[in-house]
């Protein structure tokens, strides 16, 4: 039986990991902080996947990000997706060679279709995660690119159809309104769009505790729940959340150390 997944997303900016709130970043600590507070080789047994995103707005340094990525994933035997600022085949190659098993793309889905096509063709659909950021304004779901800065003027559902047609492998759907709030996922939107999505759907934005993760995991067409909340799951946050979720008989793997 195919399991659902719990994913931890790390938001990186110029050397630091961040707590994001509605896409405004607050520095929390560097990789030493992260290793101290989240001992990945241990916490990995409470997770099913890691996503590491470079949200640097200016002075993006892909080489430095790749070095951090490489150190982070050392001896972690889980799928790793990385992205943020992929603008060329060589950016993607650098992430793959630094330990990424998949890459996450967002802006180029709109701005550089031939690059998307080349990435899919070289690495295969299953290696490409399409990230979609949206926010609700005047009851309309608006799609944003460029770290949530630029509005596309496209409705979410038609954008999802467009992105699916690019042969990407998974969709990472992130609510900017809920991001970092810890109030729970945007279930209204998720319930509205999930059943028509033909690729695996990862939901993000708003998870603050175990019950949010559980409520997301039990939605039929949701394949994975992601959280980027650095504060709420610190220490034994993930192990105890996972234990409760397994006790509820939700379909996730029970890992043995």
């Amino acid at each position: 039986m195919l399991r659902k997944r719990i994913i931890f997303t790390l938001i990186y900016e110029n050397g630091f990991f961040n707590q994001s709130r509605n896409f405004r970043l607050q520095k929390v600590g560097d990789i030493n902080w992260l290793e101290k507070n989240y001992k990945f080789q241990e916490v990995a047994f409470s997770l099913d996947e890691l996503i590491v995103l470079d949200a640097s707005k200016d002075k993006r340094d892909m080489k430095m990000f790749s070095r951090v990525l490489s150190r982070l994933v050392d001896n972690v035997f889980l799928p790793i997706a990385a992205g943020g600022g992929v603008r060329s085949m060589s950016d993607a190659a650098l992430l793959f060679s630094s330990g990424a098993d998949k890459i996450v793309i967002n802006t180029i889905l709109h701005t550089d279709l031939s690059l998307v096509e080349n990435l899919v063709s070289l690495y295969g659909s299953q290696s490409i995660v399409a990230s979609i950021d949206y926010r609700i304004i005047d009851n309309r779901h608006r799609v944003y690119i460029n770290n949530g800065v630029e509005e596309l003027g496209m409705e979410l559902e038609s954008y999802i159809r467009y992105v699916e047609n690019l042969n990407i492998g998974e969709i990472y759907l992130n609510s900017i309104d809920k991001d970092g709030t810890g109030f729970g996922y945007d279930f209204d939107t998720i319930n509205q769009v999930a059943q028509d999505i033909k690729v695996p759907l990862i939901i993000a934005g708003g998870a603050g505790n175990e019950s949010h993760l559980s409520s997301g995991l039990i939605i039929d067409n949701v394949s994975a729940t992601a959280t980027a909340n650095l504060f709420n799951f610190i220490g034994d946050g993930f192990p105890s959340a996972r234990k409760k979720i397994i006790e509820k008989n939700i379909n996730i793997v029970s890992w043995n150390k």
């Binding site: 195919l2 659902k4 997944r5 099913d48 035997f77 492998g169 999505i197 394949s223």
Partner: protein
């Protein structure tokens, strides 16, 4: 113990080499050279991407001939992972009809099914025989990480373990010295590390 990881220009092999080093194999080399493949004790054929591009690169680099000599003639143990496992089969319909290396009597076709999300992504359970050398020490229906849009099937007994997603398909095979896994053991926590150890110790 020297392990050659075949390089035909694709994918993340970092986690494969760290998994090998985790189980005590530190002498790994990423290579497409005849001499190095011949000198290795074991071979790993990794792979991501499309079958068509991959098999073309393999042939362009003469890896089909080198692998035939090492694996079929000299019986050197090989582990094909994901696309690598599929390349060892007879054929695939991905990117047009393509012939594989033909070491294993099995064929690859697209995953299809009503309301089935494709690719098949995530941890799924593997149903294997208790006689298996590859899964020694693991509980049946252990979970491994899959990510693929094409699946392998056969009418022949190749000591296959099975996975179900829409339909049953081959999760792994072990035919003498030739082993393949559709899943990524290197991304499957302790289950995967055990499997690597078994490949190194039992083949």
């Amino acid at each position: 113990m020297k392990v050659a990881i075949i390089d035909y220009g694709m994918g993340n092999i970092k986690s494969i080499s760290s998994a090998l080093s985790y189980v005590g194999v530190n002498d790994t080399i990423l290579t497409s050279s005849y001499e190095e493949i011949s000198a290795a004790d074991k071979i790993i054929l990794p792979g991501v991407g499309g079958f068509s591009d991959a098999i073309h690169s393999v042939r362009e680099l003469n890896l089909d001939k080198y692998l035939y000599e090492s694996v079929v003639e000299n019986k050197k143990p090989i582990l094909g992972i994901c696309l690598g496992m599929q390349l060892l089969g007879e054929s695939s319909d991905e990117g047009g009809p393509n012939r594989g290396l033909g070491f294993i009597p099995a064929r690859v076709s697209k995953i299809e099914g009503l309301n089935l999300k494709v690719p098949h992504v995530g941890f799924n359970q593997v149903d294997f025989s208790s006689e298996s050398k590859l899964y020694k020490g693991l509980k049946n229906l252990s979970d491994f990480y899959f990510t693929h849009s094409h699946k392998m099937n056969t009418d022949t007994d190749i000591n296959q373990a099975m996975c179900n997603y829409g339909d049953n398909f081959i999760a792994s095979y072990e035919m003498d010295n030739i082993v393949g896994t559709q899943f990524h053991a290197e991304l499957s926590q302790t289950n995967g590390l055990k499997l690597f150890r078994n490949f190194i110790e039992n083949f």
